[in-house]
Symmetry: C2
Subunit: 219 residues, 2 copies
DNA sequence: ACCTTAAGTGAGTGATTACTCACTTTTATA
DNA sequence: TATAAAAGTGAGTAATCACTCACTTAAGGT
């Protein structure tokens, strides 16, 4: 297990499941389901308690407030979704030419985040929804994005711009176009049209080549 | 004024402002502001009444329920956002070669929706947020999309695919990539990072050429 | 076995919720 | 100017809200 893998492992177990009471686990599970279904503000603590098979007081034994419960669910998810950008090798491989081009990086990134999204749909729904209103979540997002995602992404894009693989747009524009295309795909695939008969492998490849050609240096 | 313009005029005045009481207008204005700021579920009718300078009962004189108030605001907005697809000339011009290529169509569409978004940010926020939970809004969206947006978009894309301007992806994929890129741009520009020092004209042109080259037939 | 601490409970609380209704005021029409 | 309809009001209501607290049960260390 590499050093990076250990870091990622830690990130994933920030809210370590091991030290949770069975009832606490049921509370979290019920809360995730209901927040995703009806939204945070429209879900009452009594409903959560009922679905979890727990007395309402038990919720407040573990979480000081209802908002505490939300944050304990949603904030770690923001970090987890950005996890690839915490791995050292994400940038390192690019400069060691272990990625031959932007396409390989994109392919790894999309496949990786696709699988993650697939297994965390309700959690992603909650984050997307509540990000709009919960300031503490916005802060966490801004922190992660500006301190981890943006600088590393910038290094990579600049590198491929110098190699002449990417059109000479501002780096921020390249990042914006890349991220919105990927996130747009994931949101469409898993949230807006989850029941559409997707051919995932092909659709991922088409998305990659759309980004690549869209950013390709024009002759 | 062409026939299309008349249709669009009608669409825009579906909830005709003219026949609104001054107090009713204040209620709508207050509701839009607060729903966008704190979300529908977290906004109480008493707060709306207070901000509108109106007795709480007045709200229910005009809107049977709180949800009625939301729908009267949000549902027409869905139609308005899709308005370009109701205009006959949207498709007609393409086949009369009045648009020389996909780029001109994209340019018109993006500029048009950019201006619209710019002047309706709170309303767009509300629609984006509440679409997740309000079934009646989802129905309206599906109806508009599958009956107006999708078929007309399909005609246009098929036309340019036959002309060899667009890569031979499935039409649905081309539409998905186009729409998510445009919507992704608008959401980033006006909702996620409204304070970033945007160079709108340049960013629009870059977005257009990103889509164009991304979809361009590869030699 | 004894004690301390943590986990779990559920009836109770004051505040707030969407909505009603009897009433007053304004507007429109004849 | 008389009259009916529409607009506006605000105190009142039952339900629900997040949260508390005195209490019981379970777990772990010595």
């Amino acid at each position: 297990m590499s050093e990076d893998d250990i870091i990622q492992e830690m990130l994933l177990n920030e809210d370590n499941d091991d030290q949770l009471t069975p009832k606490q686990r049921k509370i979290l599970q019920a809360a995730v389901e209901m927040f995703a279904e009806k939204g945070y503000a429209s879900t009452s603590t009594s409903e959560i308690a009922k679905r979890a098979g727990v007395a309402e007081g038990t919720i407040f034994r573990h979480y000081k407030t209802k908002k505490d419960l939300l944050y304990s669910i949603a904030v770690p998810m923001i970090t987890k979704f950005a996890a690839p950008f915490f791995a050292q090798h994400f940038v390192k491989h690019v400069f060691n030419d272990q990625y031959s081009g932007y396409d390989e990086l994109l392919r790894k990134l999309i496949h990786n985040r696709f699988e993650f999204a697939k297994e965390n749909i309700p959690l992603l729904k909650i984050v997307l929804q509540e990000m709009a209103f919960q300031h503490e979540m916005q802060e966490k997002y801004k922190e992660i994005f500006s301190e981890n995602v943006l600088p590393r992404f910038r290094e990579v894009v600049d590198h491929f711009k110098e190699k002449g693989q990417i059109e000479d747009y501002p780096t921020e524009t390249v990042i914006r176009l890349t991220i919105t295309t990927i996130v747009g795909f994931l949101v469409t695939r898993f949230i807006i049209m989850p029941d559409y008969p997707w051919d995932d492998e092909q659709e991922i490849e088409r998305t990659i080549s759309f980004i690549l050609h869209g950013l390709e240096t024009q002759s």
